[in-house]
Symmetry: C2
Subunit: 325 residues, 2 copies
Amino acid sequence: MKLAIYGYGNLGKGVECAVTQNPDVELIAVFTRRDPSTVKTLTGIPVYIADDILSFQDKIDVLIICGGSATDLPEMTPYLAQYFNVVDSFDTHANIPVHFDRVNAAAAANGHTALISAGWDPGMFSIARIYGASILPDGQDYTFWGRGVSQGHSDAIRRIEGVVDARQYTVPVPAAVDAVRSGKNPQLTTREKHTRECYVVAAENADKARIEAEIKSMPNYFADYDTTVTFISMDEMKAKHSALPHGGSVIRTGRTGLNKECGHVIEYSLKLDSNPQFTSSALVAFARAINKMHARGMNGCFTVFDIAPADLSPLSAEELRAHLL
Amino acid sequence: MKLAIYGYGNLGKGVECAVTQNPDVELIAVFTRRDPSTVKTLTGIPVYIADDILSFQDKIDVLIICGGSATDLPEMTPYLAQYFNVVDSFDTHANIPVHFDRVNAAAAANGHTALISAGWDPGMFSIARIYGASILPDGQDYTFWGRGVSQGHSDAIRRIEGVVDARQYTVPVPAAVDAVRSGKNPQLTTREKHTRECYVVAAENADKARIEAEIKSMPNYFADYDTTVTFISMDEMKAKHSALPHGGSVIRTGRTGLNKECGHVIEYSLKLDSNPQFTSSALVAFARAINKMHARGMNGCFTVFDIAPADLSPLSAEELRAHLL
């Protein structure tokens, strides 16, 4: 399978690394909107300017689009799905139906196969939710995120006046996780599920009390949470907060039996040293599936719900049945 | 969807209970090899003698076959797949390839759709293994079972002279689970992964020392494990060991990055009050998928690897994208 990467940030670099672990996958090119002469890939893969991509139509089986969900992917994925089989990690949950329709129209009209919203949430966590809900319909699911870095929340802090750098960790409340795991089916408010830890480098002479107050009162991002703000030096930021760990759990609890006499707990959890590395490893596996589905004539847009697990694997059906079933 | 149950033990009763939680599913009939007049269903579903089943060919969308893997399913599933869409929970891992080929031949030749080896292992644990291996190819997976009742091991103890009743619990070794979760990638022997706890009711005047020695030295079942044997009264057996809890974890650890600098842990775990109740809840969801796949003209035999998660759900693709993705 011949892959290409469109967008070369943390996620694109992660795809490049993941390809080295998948012998059936060849990385053809990286496309960037920057000046290609300023971009050097980790493994020497050639870099082209984004506008050149249409000349690669017969050289690429699947294009992995590594852009941001706010402004990049809503434009890029529908456009590129006209010309390529594509995979993206669009993660603005509320806008998925609109994004799906636009990508589906472009892919279906041009005989291409597209997958949106692959990764871990949306992605593997969505898969955990659908399996859990389908097997235990009389139940409830809970998603906890963290402990891990939320890049969106970190960015929100950085926009406050007097902030030089910031890192925000989302942390599940242990008592809430324990209550869910026990099968108690608790009703949990936003505040009861997660806390937010902020590490902030302030400018010299900045008013730290004001910065802290602005963070804690920021609507949507922090106001509904118990938030702690810790001011640190730039040296400490670089030494202790350079990584992008993340993870979390999807827990489905439910009851079965004529009188609901049996309780069951299904838990899917991730502990990731690097959020973009794991996401990009998932993207490569899902790109394999999209390539197989395209070969079977399945055109249009799909989500992770539409992909049979066997299509993610390089192994044959016989090998899978003999060794993994 | 119209379902029927073939075989009415713990698993068949579990399917009957699960149907009550799935409004899109109707249970038509239970078939038994016993005298139907001696079998009373939990919800009043009519019971027929197994031999009558061929007269139900146009009344049943999917038949769930609830037999044992040792002798029932290897005969029943290929036979019934000639006449019905079928689902079974065949769990003798080593014989899956042969069972698959026989069921596939019968189903494909007659335009039916079959699923073998659904449940949780094989089943949901297999799905956890394939997702984990596909996303983290540079890694290793570990499956731990328990704490839970192994019916095969309990039966093996019951066959020993002087044993009136027995219950065997498979228990993961906590230190082994912790070492795996830490990402240390340990090499673990059979003995290091699980212990076996046996609760035995002995006949009056039976030689308990001999029974204990026979259990602990039984090849395949106990000889490779640290096994404890506790003799209890029949009253205690009934009071404390009547349930069939089970569960366990599939853990995939792997590393990514050009220099393998990032470690990741994926864990899928189950904590089940009743093994047959959970298995049968899974069977009903997978039967829904087989019904959908049959409607799309997908004939032959499949495994859980071939089933897209969306097919397990009663929700539409639009609902799934809007609410579960």
